[in-house]
Every structure is written in C-alpha cells, then in structure tokens.
C-alpha cells in the first residue's frame, strides 16, 4: 500500500502500462514536453520517447480520430483531452466512430482505446471549460464510461480501461487530482461496471460519482458526527455499464435516497438513477428520490457566481434534511439524542 494522490496514481499506472505493453501509446495536446496540463504525463516523453508519447497539434477531432484508427490496428492508444469540454470537438469521432465501429462493421474490428479527460467546475475556467458532459458518453451504447473518485479506483479502473477491448471514456476531475488515499501495490485491474458502497448506513442512501462521490462521503461523515444520521454512500465508479443493483440494494435497506450530480438537473444522470431506483425499489421507498445538481446556467467565471451555481455540501445537507423530514425520520433521530 502506498499513500498517494489521485494524480500520482494515474501517472504511475500509465507508466507501468507503457512498460508492460509496447502497444500502449499516449497522444494529446501538451502531454510531452509540457507534461500535460495537469502533469499526469510528467517524465514520460523522456522515458518512452516521442513515438509513444505524442504531442499532437491542437486538433481534438484529428488526434481522437487518429487514435480510433490506430486502435483498429491493435494499438492501445490512451488519448488525453485537456478537458472534457474539448472532447466536444471530437464528438463525431467518439460517438459516431469509436462507439459504432465494432457493431457497424459486424464485429470485425474493435476499438481498444481510452480517452482520459478531466471534468469539473469550481476552478474559475468559465462556461466553455467547466462543463460535465460525461452524460453524452454515458448515453451512448458501445462506449464504456468510468469515473473513479479515489486514487485506488483511479489505478484499478485505468488498468482495466487500457486492457479493455472496447473504447473507454475515463473521466477524471480537476478537484480530485490532489486528493490522497491508499493505493495497493499490485496491478489488479478493477471491474468496469461495478459500484462500491464506500460507507454503510441505514438512514438514507447517497449516490454519486467522481467528485460528488467524494462530497457524499464528506457530508455523510458530517451528518453522523453532528446529527447522528447514518447515511450509506454508493460510489457508482462506472456510468456505463451502470450497476443499478448496488444502488437498489442500498435503497431497499435505507428506504430513501438523494442523488448528487455535478451537472445540470434536467435529463441528467440523477434522472436515470431516480428512475432506476423507482423501478427497482418502489415498494421500499418512503420518500421521493431527490436530486442535488447545479443551476441550469452556463457556469460563470466569477468566483462568487460559480459558487452560487455549483451544488455545495450545504445544499446536499438541506436536501437530505428535507427527505428525512418527509418521512419523519429526522425528528426521531434528533429526539433520541
């Protein structure tokens, strides 16, 4: 076990995969000499050379499409897109080609590529650099989408993504890069499509992924300490395939749920989760599933406005209180103390 940052876990894993398999190569803007916008690829150009660590022109559609082609030949390109926002310039290559080639070409060739890209607002990067559009990819059959929230999962899921024979969108998060945690030394790939219960509790289920899985844990600890409320936290880890069962099993135990998401409410991933919960655990629900999401506006650049638009831990607590109040559970709890 090593106690390292999310950033370090990604770096170490990429490096060991480059060492393990000579078909693995990295492509992206600024990943070589500049070592990546967020320094995930530090030192790799020197160690592996320009054929395996390729600085690309500023052409997102170009290098993503080229990675699709390289993957069709059996290489395992790991593409870095500076932010998920710029993946929109490559949307055609991702949705229409990476996700479709295996099916449209009769299973004759697969596309074993990974697109690593961070999402996340809160860094004052303004509306076109702060969106969380993983929903587009989670919506698309043929793609896998993983979104680890801890350094250990970052490692395990990156290993799994690179070794997977299908295209994987690997979602990172700007706010998570410096977070630390225990990471096993062994190279054991994680299972794509398996959620984790990261905290057990019996009062309410909180569901999130990426940064919001982190926020959910923090809120749960705070509620336990301050109010004696025991929340169970489900970290989805993977958006497609989606592990509905783990979510439903938790709700059957707690009888109510709040879903946390870092993007817009309407048509969001929270809506999918709410529907999945009512499908799978309707008879167990004591209250409607509530969602916490950001304001439905382009995210402003101004710090106070950005904070006003993004969901905060306080917002989550408020919605949890409302949900528990609706089932009369909080007064019990508070009364018992």
């Amino acid at each position: 076990m090593a106690h390292i940052s999310y950033r370090q876990a990604l770096h170490d894993t990429l490096r060991s995969e480059l060492q393990r398999d000579e078909n693995v190569l990295l492509m992206g803007e600024e990943i070589g000499r500049f070592e990546g916008s967020y320094k995930i690829t530090a030192g790799m150009l020197d160690e592996f050379g320009p054929k395996r660590v390729r600085d690309t022109p500023i052409a997102e559609e170009g290098f993503t499409g080229a990675a699709v082609g390289a993957a069709m030949l059996g290489l395992r390109p790991v593409v870095e897109i500076m932010t998920i926002n710029f993946s929109l310039l490559a949307l055609d290559q991702i949705m229409n080609h990476a996700a479709k080639i295996y099916g449209m070409f009769g299973g004759q060739c697969s596309v074993p590529m990974v697109i690593r890209t961070p999402g996340g607002g809160g860094q004052q990067l303004a509306a076109t650099h702060s969106q969380n559009v993983e929903l587009f990819y989670a919506f698309t059959p043929g793609l896998k989408v993983v979104a680890p929230s801890s350094p250990a999962d970052a490692k395990a899921l990156l290993l799994a993504s690179i070794r997977d024979d299908d295209p994987v969108l690997f979602l990172e998060n700007l706010a998570l890069y410096n977070t630390k945690g225990e990471v096993p030394d062994t190279d054991e790939p994680g299972e794509i499509g398996r959620a984790a219960v990261t905290r057990t509790g019996s009062d309410i289920t909180l569901v999130g992924y990426s940064r919001m899985a982190h926020v959910a844990l923090q809120v749960a600890e705070r509620l336990a300490a301050d109010e004696g409320i025991e929340a169970e936290v489900v970290d989805l880890r993977s958006l497609r395939p989606l592990d509905r069962q783990t979510v439903v099993d938790s709700v059957k135990k707690t009888n109510c749920a709040v879903v946390l998401e870092d993007d817009w409410l309407t048509y969001g991933i929270g809506a999918e989760l709410a529907a999945s919960i009512s499908d799978g655990a309707f008879d167990w629900l004591d209250a409607p599933v509530r969602r916490v999401a950001m304001a439905e506006v382009p995210l402003p650049y101004a710090k106070p406005l950005e904070s006003a638009a993004l969901p905060s831990a306080d917002d989550v607590v408020t919605v949890i209180h409302q949900t528990l109040d609706a089932v009369g559970r909080r007064s019990d709890r508070v009364g018992a103390r």
Binding site: R33, F34, P50, D55, P57, Q124, T128, A302, K303, P304
Partner: protein
C-alpha cells in the same frame, strides 16, 4: 533501422522567412515596391499616434499582469511582443469593419475604444463581457480555439447579403477581421472557415498572429509549410508580414481589408511575431523554451523600433515622450483604481443571460435562490 516518425520541419518554418517589412528592427525605413504605396499617406502625426498606441497597449498589458500577480484578476493572457501586429492591423480598420478576437487582442480592443477596465472586469470575473460589440465593432473574447474564424465568416456572409461590399462608398463597404493564433490553424474549424470564405468569396481577413508558440507547442507541431502558404490551397491570397513592424502590418492589413470591402474575397495574413511572455499568467515558459530565443526576439522589439525610427527622423521631441509617459502612468493608475472598485455581481445574476427571455423554469430557480439567500439576511438581522 529506426525511423523517426515525428515530422521534421521544413527549413522555412524554422528560419527567418521572406516577409513584408518596411521598418527594420533598427528603425530604418526600407522601401518596398508594392507596399510603399499603401502607407504613402502616413504622416509624422500618424507615426506618433501609432507609437502612442503601441506604448499604451504595452502598458495596459503590464498593468494587467501585475494586477493578476496581486490577486486582483483570475488570469491574464499577455500580448507582450505582439503590439505591432495588433495596432498595425487595427489601424487599418474602418469604423464599420467588424473584429472577431481571440483572448489576447487587448491592443486591438484599445484601438477600438474598448476601455481596458472592461477587459479587467472580464478577467476579474465580475462580468461576462461588458462592451457592446455592435457599438465598438469589436466582438467579445473567444476561448475555444479557432471557433471565432467561423463566426467571422458567417458575419461576413451577412455583410455580403446586406450588399455592404463593392459599392465604392468608403463609409459603407465593410470587411470582417478574424484574429487567431498559429496553434489555431490546426483546428478543423479554421480550415472549414477558410473553405467557406473561399467558396463564398466572403469579405473576411484571416489575421493569424504566428507568435511561434501554442502554450508549450512550437510551430513545428502544427505545420510543415509556412502558414501563409496554406491560403493558396483554399483559393485566396496569403501573405507573411513582419509582425513586429507596425507599418508593414498596417500596409498589409489595409490591402487585405480593402480587397474584402471591394468584394474580392478573403485574404490570409500571417503576422510573424513572438510571444515574449508566458502563455497566460498561469504558465511558466522557462520550462519549455530557451532563453536564447527570447533574446533573439528582444532585438526585434516592435515598440523600440518605432521609437528608433522617430528619433532617427526627428519625428518627436523629448516633450512628446515625456507626455506619453505621463499619459501611460495615468492610464495604469486609473486601471488599478477602477479594477479594485469594480462591483461584485449578485449571485442571482447567474440566471440573467441564459436566454433572451428567461424560461419559467429558470425564473423559478432564480426566485428559489433569492429566497434562500434572503433567509440568511433575516438570520443576520435576528442574531
């Protein structure tokens, strides 16, 4: 055998190319067969006015960089080194011509009478852009690389539809100017803008400031041919100009803009210059480029060469330089003071500009937020 598959630059991109120059780095006026006529009307007053704008643009920039360092701005992309490319091209514009900038065209903004404090407000993050592009004919900053070249092309198609080209009326015929960088030329959007403008003969000038770098990526990463040569493939002229020579930038831009206004279609101008500073205040260029390169370009300084020209030809006395220095100090002082007193926006303003007519759903969200914020105000009163 091992073959290095990384593209080798062709000689021309790494060496000084053939380019239009009217003022040498030493401030010597060199004749040019074709372009002399385009600046024949430039008087000593014009030279002084040009110099003034170069100095003020540089001052606006350095003041903004220091405000950012003091924590007053979130970020600032410096124009240092690109003053001549910006002021020379901007001075070729007519009032009705419309400009689509990137995020670095503070000199063009200055010339278009956009108050530098408006730029500070944007980068301080107290508003989302507060100058009126319809009035200044200077559009708001675009950050997604290359996108504005398409917007400029579309705007130019509108100009064409309005019949505001080729009438011979100097107050009516209109050109559109799209600024972008060397790195941007790799984007599909820029090639598509070239295609569109080419086939529709749109009145647009593509003004590429080739400052040799796209963050940490040198020009060789984006192209194997000199950028101005790309225009030929799209069917319109391309020209490379010394981007540190304000007079040459004026001449070349005047010709290109006039072609557009006359209905003769697009031109690609490549202003060969250098980004003397960091990409933005959050970048450290010493990590990826050599000091020698910086020193090489320092000798070609766009502001100093005009001063040398003025001194050499007795175009200004000490009083002129002193007054300009005072004016520049006053501008900096005003920027500092006004920047610090810019009002903070209200949280509910996030809902203001999502739609021209707010939707009921948004009105509900805004009212909800207002009520929530009010509940704290009450708490404070009661405590």
């Amino acid at each position: 055998m091992s073959v290095d598959t990384a593209a080798q630059p062709v000689a021309e991109t790494s060496h000084e190319p053939e380019l239009v120059q009217l003022l040498t780095p030493e401030g010597q006026r060199v004749p040019h067969e074709h372009y002399d006529s385009l600046v024949a009307d430039v008087t000593a007053d014009d030279i002084r006015a040009m110099y003034r704008e170069l100095v003020l643009a540089r001052r606006v920039d350095s003041e903004a960089v220091s405000l950012q360092r003091q924590g007053e701005l979130g970020l600032w992309p410096s124009l240092l080194g690109q003053e001549a490319a910006q002021i020379g091209s901007a001075r070729a514009l007519r009032p009705q011509d419309h400009v689509f900038p990137t995020y670095r065209e503070h000199g063009v903004a200055l010339h278009r009478d956009v108050d530098p404090v408006r730029l500070l407000a944007l980068f301080r993050g107290v508003d989302q852009g507060s100058w009126d592009p319809a009035q200044s004919h200077f559009h708001l900053y675009t950050i997604v690389i290359g996108a504005q070249t398409l917007h400029a092309t579309g705007y130019a198609m509108g100009v064409q539809r309005d019949g505001a080209i080729g009438t011979g009326d100097p107050g009516r015929d209109t050109a559109v100017m799209a600024y972008f960088g060397d790195g941007a030329t790799s984007q599909g959007s820029v090639s598509e803008a070239f295609i569109w403008a080419g086939v529709t003969n749109a009145p647009v000038v593509f003004f590429c400031q080739n400052n040799q770098w796209a963050i940490s990526e040198p020009l060789e990463r984006q192209t194997r041919v000199p950028l101005y040569k790309r225009a030929a493939g799209f069917g319109f002229p391309g020209v490379r100009v010394d981007g540190n020579d304000v007079l040459a930038c004026l001449a070349v831009s005047r010709e290109a803009l006039q072609r557009a206004r006359d209905g003769e279609g697009p031109t690609l101008v490549e202003a060969f210059t250098y980004r003397m500073g960091a990409h933005t205040t959050s970048d450290d260029p010493t990590r990826y480029r050599l000091n020698a390169e910086l020193e090489h370009w320092r000798l070609k300084d766009p502001v100093e060469r005009v001063k040398a020209y003025m001194v050499r030809n007795d175009l200004a006395d000490q009083a002129f330089f002193d007054e300009l220095s005072d004016e520049s100090d006053q501008l900096a002082e005003r920027m500092r003071a006004e920047c610090r007193s810019l009002p903070e926006p209200a949280p509910t303003s996030i809902f203001d500009h999502v739609y021209v007519e707010p939707t009921p759903g948004l009105v509900e969200q805004r009212d909800g937020m207002a009520a929530y914020l009010d509940s704290f105000a009450d708490e404070e009163v009661h405590q």
